[in-house]
Structures are given as structure tokens and as C-alpha cells.
Amino acid sequence: MNLQDMTIMGFSNLWHTRLRSTLTILGVVIGIGALTSMVSFGTGMQKNLTDAFTKNDLFTSMNVTPKDLNVDEMMSGDLSGIGKMLDEKPKPLTDSILEAIREMEGVQLAFPDESFAGKLQFNDNEVSKNMQPIPAAASAFYPYNDLLAGELYPHDSSQSVVIKWETLRDLGLIVEYPDLDYTLSRKDSLKGTRIVSPDSVIGRKITLITAELNIPSNPLGILMGDDFDPFEETSREYTICGITRPRDEFTFDRSRSALVIPPVTARKIPRLSFSSVWDILGEGKEEGTYSSIYVRVAEMEVLTPVREKIEAMGVGVFALADELDEIKRAFLIMDSLLGAIGTIALIIAALGIINTMLMSILERTREIGVMKAVGGSENEIKFIFFVEAACIGLVGAVFGLLLGWVVTRIANQVMNTMVLPDNQGPVDLFYFPLWLILGAIGFSVVVSLAAGLYPAIRAARIDPVRALRHD
């Protein structure tokens, strides 16, 4: 008897007991459905995180700080360590360090990571926000290489700015884009919010108001009740040249700034910042030093060598990519737990298979006896039952995957419409990679075969003399 014949025989046996086969398969369907939807949630979360890391350049970027903050040492309660840290004078991030970093091989972009506060006036509204100077060279990189509309300014002394989508919303303008199905709520219309096209914003002027401390020429005048405003406001106009895409759940917003401005232009703006308060308090800050420098390297592989070179200069480096290994380990544990729950469902299904097949053998005892009487060997009879078991596993896995997919689609829809905030694009919470699909099918078939092992052996060992007398 060849494989094909035994397979056909196994299939026809399943077909003859359609209802019972279907119910048994249904058990596997539910088991595989539970298993795959659970695991796909784990892989989905992991994929979203890894994608977000990649999309936000976190694998290729780091922040340089004046001094390496050794958290472990602080937590260990080693006071001498803290003392040593406090004693150590922080290495200032000077222009020469910035230059040195820029010269390093593999570094694509390095600029001071700073921001300043100000008020924005646009569309008859005013909001207080943070502005961030970003060099024009950043136009090649995320997110400035992928703006919703327009593009980053051409040079560092340009009089143009890029505004964030969220800032415009705060200013009462919802910029429409294809993925957004935004309907104005009552609250929106009361506030005067309007939906506008990106083109109606690009090219318009926006007013930036900054303040600096007004140091009085005659301090006594204040005491005498002179009319004195401690802040002096400066107002400047810039052209909006670009709008960023709206943030989603997985966007890591480094600066949380509302407006991106060319650095040379920014330097000319008189402004109040913490550093100038320090100036007033007389700490004295060297010209051209920064609190943080953002560094972007060409690819993941060079992050570590560049990082080591920068650390060798005596400054601190923080890279989020370092945290990824920890996160991955956490996900592995989560996946295993989710998978274990799904596996329990599959084990219950396997018991169903054993039960069904033992029933079927009992019912077909005489038939098995006839097969033996006409020359069927034990292995052939075993194989026929294995085919039945494998078939239950295979069909169960295919429909189980389908069930898992449908369930996760619905869950995703519910999560997106009811739980996650609706001012962002849809998020895929579940992910079915190829290994999960093939793995689920393989696992289901293996479990089913294991479940069919005992019944098949039992069928093969049936005594034909008794079986032929069996009713």
C-alpha cells in the first residue's frame, strides 16, 4: 500500500464521520486560534517597538551629556562614589568637543540638543511652547525627511520654520491628511477649530514672541514704585516652510518642541533660558557650551565604536538602543507566558483528538479486523490513523489561524476605536510573522500526531479473530 492510498483512506474515514470530525477539528481550531492570537499580540508589541526604534532612529542615535551619570553607583548606596561624582567637575560640552564628534567616522549629524520657551501667534490664537534649533542638515533624516507637507529650511540662517502638526491643532487648525478621518466635535467648533489643507498653512507667517530679563538701570526705581516690567518681549515673524506628521503611539519625540527653527536664526533671538538665569546668578557660563549634544550615526553597527570614542573624551553618552536587549528579554518572557496559555487550549484539543480516535477505533473494530484479514499490515493500519490525526491537526491549524486572525482583527478594531486616542493613525497591535503561521501549523500537526499515537498503536494491535466476531 503506498502513501497516497493510505492518505486517501484516512481522509475518507474522516469524511464518513463528518460531524464528529468537525467537532474534533473545532477543538483544534479554538486551541490554535487562542495560541496564535496570544502570540501574535506579543510579537505585535515587539514589532511595534522595534519598528518605532528604527523609525525614530533610536538604533542610530545617542545623546552626549557633560558627565556620565553613574546610576548604578548612586543606587548602590556607595556614598563615596557620589562624593567623587560631586567632586568631579563636569566636563563641559564645548564647541571643540562638538567639532571632534562631527569629525568622527560614521557620524552623520551632531548638533546641540537644546530648546527655549516662547509664545507662538498664528490664526488669531496664541500658545506658549518650546522651540528647538535644528540644523538644515537634518533634512536627510527622520522625521524631517518625511514631513506631512513642505520641507525643512534650506540653510541654517533661513527665516523659515517647520511647525509640528500638534502645534497647529493647539492653534485651532486641524491639518488634514489621508490617514486621518477627523470629524470636528462640538468642543472643537466652540473653540473655533477648523479643518484646513496643508497648502493653506505653508508659506504663511507665524509670530514668535520671546522674553528676556530686563535688568533695570536703576534698581532703586522698582522700590520707589516706578512702572517697571521685568521682562522685555521681542516679536519676530517667520515663514512656515513645513509641517511634521502627527505623532502616533510609537513616535518617540525627542524634544517635545512645537517649532523647529534654523540654529543661526535662533541664536539671534534674545531669549530667557535657564542658562541665562545662571548667568544672572553669577555662575558664569563659558561661551559656546551645551547641556546636551545629539549624535546620529550612519548605521547600527557603528553606534558602539562611536560611543566608545566619545566616552573616551570624558563625557557621558546615553543611547536608548542599550535598553533594547532588556526589553527584548521582557518580551520573550511575555511571549512564553502567552504561548503557554494558548498551549493549554491546544492540549485540551489533543485530549479531544485522543477521545475521538479511540471512539472511532471502537466503532471500526470489525473494519480493522477485515483490513487485517485481507492482508493489511500493522504499519499500514497505523499510518491510516496517523493520517486522520495529522489531517485533524492540519485542517484545525489552518482554520485556527483564520480564527486567530479574525479575532485579532476585531480586537484591533475595538482597541483602535475605543481605547487608543483617536487623534492618531490606526495601530496594528497584532502581528502574524511567517514563523508564527508555519510554527502554528507544525505545532498543531505534531500535537495531533502525538495524540493519535496511542490510538493508532491500539488499532494496529487489534486481534483480527476477535475483531471479526465483534458487532
Binding site: M371, K372, A373, V374
Partner: protein, 224 residues
């Protein structure tokens, strides 16, 4: 004429708990090729057990069964299956057709186990059905056949792999006398025309006398 089956000191003892029930006791006889041998005895005389031992459905407790030069007791399970497949063809009182398969598919079953290619199986099964006089019954299920027709299908199935010997266990036990006679005539013609060796178990001494070359009578497991 050569000897096809040689049985020597054959015993079969069944165990029911600690009690030994001897079904066949020290039986010896020989069957020459092309003969028609009947085993006669009352129910419980051990004749069916003897047939099952020759058919390879059961193994002897002691003694030897030489079939076509092979010692059945020494064959492993696979080779014993091959003996059932190619060496002998069995017919039963209750026909033992598979109820969910058509007459044709019942005959195809042993051909499938023998690894005959699918198209040849169908050709051969159709031919066998015609040979037993049931040419028009290919798509009928066993439940749609009369007792005589069902036994004819069973005979066709027994002939499928061209066995050396037909083992018939009370082939007419479930049939009325005229149908029984037709079945016996079919067996006789297979014996006379095709030269097939036939070993038939029956309790009907009259029929046995009429058709057999020789008769063995069993009582309580022994030849008398």
C-alpha cells in the same frame, strides 16, 4: 500432486483467566494442491480456530503449519500479513464486507494493500465481479445486496490477489438452501476450473460429502 499445506501436532490453547481452554488439540493433516477439503464438526469443535490458524489470523500454541514451504509460526507480524494478503483468501459466514464501501471498493481493498496501481485495481475488481456473476452490481453497497450476492462479492475479494488457497468459514451458514447451493457450486467451479485449493469449514456433513475430495471431522479440538 504436491502438498500445499502440512499441519503437524497443531494445538491452540486459549486462556481465560487462569483456566486453559484447548480449542485445537494435536491436529495433524496434509492438503494437496488443487483439492477440496472440508472440516466438519459441531460448533465449538475448534474448526474455525483451525481455519484462523491456517489463515494467519491467529498463532498456534504448539505444532507447525507449513504453507507452501513456509512455517507460519515463525513468520514475523509483517510476513504474516503478507501471507494473509497473497497466500490465502478468506470467506466468512457473515461476509465481513465493509458497509461504507461499494461492492467494487470492497474488492479493491486487498488490491490496495498489495500495491496494485489504481487503474489496474479497478480493471481487475470489475473483472472479478463479472467472474462471480455480479457484473452490474459495482456501485451497490453491501446493504443493497442479497445474502448470496454479498457472499459472491466476498469470494471475489478473496480471489483478488490470486491466492493459492481459499479458506471458507461456514460460507453458507447465513444463506437459504438454494442460495447456499449456488455459492457451493461457485466454490466447486473455482476448484475444478481454476485448480484452486479450497479448505472449507462447515457443520453440514451432507454438503461436505457431496463436494469434497476428503473430509476431516473435529470433535473437541481433535480429529476423529
Amino acid at each position: 500432486m504436491s502438498t500445499i499445506l502440512s499441519i503437524h501436532n497443531l494445538s491452540k490453547i486459549y486462556h481465560k483467566g487462569k483456566v486453559e481452554i484447548p480449542a485445537v488439540k494435536e491436529v495433524s493433516f496434509e492438503v494437496t494442491q488443487g483439492s477440496y477439503l472440508s472440516i466438519v464438526g459441531k460448533s465449538g469443535s475448534g474448526k474455525s480456530t483451525l481455519l484462523n490458524l491456517v489463515g494467519g489470523l491467529d498463532r498456534p500454541t504448539s505444532g507447525t503449519i507449513q504453507f507452501n514451504g513456509k512455517e507460519l509460526g515463525k513468520l514475523n507480524r509483517y510476513h504474516l500479513a503478507l501471507h494473509r494478503r497473497f497466500g490465502v483468501g478468506m470467506i466468512f459466514q457473515s461476509f465481513n464486507l465493509l458497509p461504507r464501501r461499494t461492492a467494487l471498493d470492497n474488492i479493491i481493498l486487498p488490491l490496495t494493500f498489495a500495491g496494485v496501481p489504481s487503474r489496474k485495481r479497478k480493471q481487475r475488481a470489475t473483472k472479478l465481479l463479472e467472474q462471480v456473476g455480479l457484473g452490474g452490481r459495482t456501485t451497490h453497497f453491501p446493504s443493497e445486496l442479497s445474502g448470496g450476492e454479498a457472499q459472491r462479492v466476498a469470494i471475489a475479494r478473496a480471489l483478488a490477489n490470486e491466492p493459492k488457497m481459499i479458506l471458507a468459514d461456514e460460507p453458507t451458514g447465513n444463506l437459504d438452501s438454494s442460495t447456499a447451493n449456488e455459492i457451493i457450486q461457485l466454490l466447486v467451479s473455482l476448484n475444478k476450473d481454476k485448480g484452486l485449493t479450497i479448505l472449507m469449514v462447515t457443520h453440514d456433513r451432507e454438503t461436505a460429502d457431496a463436494v469434497s475430495d476428503s473430509i476431516i471431522t473435529l470433535k473437541d479440538g481433535s480429529i476423529i
